[in-house]
């Protein structure tokens, strides 16, 4: 196995609107290795790799490939140096077919007419996919693919463009455990065949299992490069977060009266789509966290949408005890009733990505009259409140209160959502994958808030595909499978039994 340097980034500096994203970052990956780049959200991992992929231009520092200094004028130049990056937010043209998307990334698509090339490429795609161990239909439009399939297309796209240095940005964040394992095994084999793989991640487990080397980043700096097997997981966590983060441990709550009863909730099947919910029954009590586990795509999103009042027709009943059916309640009414919602889609459903932080925060209480009536806004009151909330809820990366919410990294965007939802008295909390894509510390902050809400007497429903999260937080655990809750467990729950209920059945 050759151990020559594949790509080296030396002394990289980069700032965005005066915010220093990278300062003196160094990174070296060798041929034949899987090299993990580990760090919290907003540590600068993606920025550094975007520089390696030619998407961003660094302000200072140099880039070496095979020990020769190169300047990348753009992604095309990076592709000529055989660097390919799979971004966290996939970059596929949705109406285009798989083959058309891949054709876009090719520098020279070969001879012949457009149709001939496309047909030839389709055969190559099938062959390459088979070689990597999965199947892809090259004529399907990208919009019709599942997240895991889209990721495979992204990987095929860079590989067929000839990439030998493969950068994967948070590849497992959107995958189920099994999918993630398959992916990482595939890229590991790819590295062993003589290529270089850079794995940008914040998941310790992936690093320990699959990486040959790991470089730790913290606050825009590269802290250390080492062999992940040479130190313990705890030490690795400490390096990443800078200080020892307390491990999540289950703390029991005290269960109160019943607060919400979901009765036989079903999706209304529309033309061409089958209803995902097939009769959900669920009871939530004050002072408890109910964890809903399950493999993604078994109706969790539809249930969350129905509960949070997002679009989607349903039959059945969602009864808020003492109030009535929630399904017809307006958003304003829901907020009056003390219902907090943390949707899975942070930038789409939870925040208005193009509005400022201050607007995103204050919109939550705009009806209450706290910020003035309809002819006037109390700007100063808003500013005081949001500044305090940002401090209390530890939202970082805020350069200005007027900056777009979209510019916050995942973890901080989630903290802003939580700050808004929990800055008033809540009785009922719906949280869907609240810590997905977050680093250890941000996830813990989210967990602490959910526990605090429960201890203050709220009923909390936690829908999560991360079984560890459910096991640490939940007082009761339900398992969702094929649009139903197929099993319920009280504490202490048997992990094996839960796992079985998740995959078994129908």
């Amino acid at each position: 196995m050759s151990k020559h340097n594949a790509i080296q980034l030396v002394g990289i500096e980069k700032s965005f609107d005066g915010f220093k994203a990278l300062s003196h970052a160094n990174f070296t990956a060798k041929w034949g290795e899987v090299h993990a780049l580990l760090g919290e959200n907003g540590a600068g991992k993606s920025s550094l790799m975007n520089i390696a992929a030619g998407l961003y231009a660094p302000e200072a520092g140099s880039l070496l490939i095979d020990d020769n200094e190169v300047r990348l004028s753009g992604p095309r130049a990076a592709s000529e140096h055989r660097i390919g990056m799979v971004h966290q937010h996939f970059k596929l043209v949705r109406p285009f077919t798989v083959a058309e998307n891949i054709l876009l990334g090719l520098r020279n698509a070969g001879a012949g007419g457009f149709r001939t090339r496309l047909r030839k490429l389709e055969r190559e795609i099938v062959a390459k996919a088979e070689q990597l161990g999965f199947a892809v239909d090259p004529r399907k439009p990208a919009a019709a693919l599942s997240v895991a399939e889209q990721q495979r297309v992204e990987i095929l796209k860079v590989l067929l463009a000839g990439a030998r240095i493969l950068i994967l940005d948070e590849p497992t964040a959107v995958l189920t455990d099994q999918e993630a394992e398959r992916l990482l095994t595939t890229v590991h084999a790819f590295a062993r065949s003589g290529a270089a793989v850079i794995l940008v991640t914040h998941k310790m487990a992936d690093v320990i299992r699959y990486a040959d080397q790991v470089t730790v980043m913290r606050a825009g700096r590269t802290v250390q490069t080492l062999d992940p097997r040479s130190i313990s997981a705890d030490e690795l966590v400490r390096l990443t977060v800078g200080e020892s983060a307390p491990a999540g441990e289950y703390q029991a709550g005290s269960r109160g009266e019943e607060r919400l009863a979901v009765k036989d909730l079903r999706s209304v099947a529309s033309a061409g789509e089958r209803g995902m919910l097939a009769g959900v029954n669920l009871r939530l009590h004050a002072g408890e966290i109910y964890g809903l586990a399950g493999v993604g795509g078994n109706g969790q999103s539809e249930l969350a949408n129905a509960l949070m009042g997002l679009p989607g027709a349903t039959e059945g009943e969602i009864e808020l005890i003492g109030v009535g059916d929630l399904r017809s309640a307006s958003t304003e009414r829901r907020r009056e009733l003390g219902i907090a919602a943390i949707p899975a889609d942070r930038y789409g459903a939870a925040l208005a990505a193009d509005l400022s932080i201050i607007d995103n925060f204050c919109i939550g209480q705009i009806h209450s009259g706290r910020y003035g009536a309809f002819w006037r806004l109390k700007r100063s009151q808003m500013e005081t409140d949001v500044a305090e909330a940002i401090r209390t809820f530890d939202v970082q990366g805020v350069r200005s209160l007027r900056q777009k919410a979209a510019l916050l990294s995942g973890g901080n965007a989630q903290k802003l959502v939580i700050a808004r939802e929990f800055s008033r008295k809540v009785k009922l909390v719906f949280a869907h994958s609240p810590s997905r894509g977050l680093d250890v510390r941000a996830a813990q902050a989210v967990h602490t808030r959910l526990r605090a809400a429960r201890d203050a007497g709220a009923a909390v429903l936690l829908i999560s595909e991360d079984l560890d999260e459910v096991l640490t937080l939940a007082d009761r655990i339900g398992v969702m499978n094929s649009g139903r809750i197929v099993a319920e467990f009280d504490r202490p729950a048997d992990r094996q039994a839960i796992g079985k209920a998740m995959v078994d059945h129908v």
């Binding site: 993606s46 998407l55 130049a77 971004h87 970059k91 949705r94 285009f96 998307n101 457009f114």
Partner: protein, 308 residues
Amino acid sequence: MDLIASWLGNTPDFAVPFALAALGLIITERAGVLSLGAEGLMLVGALAGIGAQLAYGSAELSLLIAMLSASVVSILFAIMVVLLRINQVIAGLSLVFFCQGLTGLLGTLWGWTNRPVSGMSSISLWPLSELPLIGKVFVQNPVVYLTPLIFLAVVWFLTRSGTGLRLRAVGENPQAADSVGIPVLWYRVAAILAGAALIGLAGGYLSVLSTKLWIADMTGGRGWIAIALVIFARWYPWRALMGALLFGCVEALIPQLAAAGIRLPQYFILMTPYAVTLGVMIWVAASKRAGGEQPGALGIPFVREERR
């Protein structure tokens, strides 16, 4: 019978400006640039065409100059929306008003108003031109015959060439296009210039070949109708051509009704194309037919280094 024959015979002549302008708009908008300046660019093409015709006497050359001048003026629009990232609606509207004022002024200043030109002589497609009733459809000037060929070429370009695929990628998801090294901004500039050339041709056709003279504001809202047409056609060229024929029919009917002695208020008749536009738009919005969404990034300026 004669009435219907001459109505059908006139339809292509009325349809061509709509068709060419709509096609130009489709090219620009498929690259993600919302182009509301069509009315203005058509006027530029119309004035430049007449000017060249009066100066050189060659209709072919006049049409080329019409295309060129519209492209040159659209550089201004390209700078505004692609480089400076000004709101595309505002930039498009200001382009229309600017062109309306400019062409009115220059037309008067240089004395080009109301000076008839000869245009191009018609070509008969024998034996089709001898057919009863629809024979007159096949006695048209050369540009009418050229129009379907231009459509064919553009459709081929958009759907069957690598460059066309990249152009559509730029309009659907510029971030994705950028990440594989497609120069998004240059593609958009090129699409604006190419689109403007076709819109300019539509204008030149109107003045040099159709009315055969220049009057200030002579496009009379055809640029706006073309914009509606593109929406109605869901950015598909062939559907736009069908739509253009439909509008051509309506417009060609107006002089026929007058000739037949059917008395309708003048303003009612002038209103019909717009009423049809409104009706078609409502029908499209209400029917929500499957297939063909608007380009994903239509009207959204592209910036690279904005982080999520």
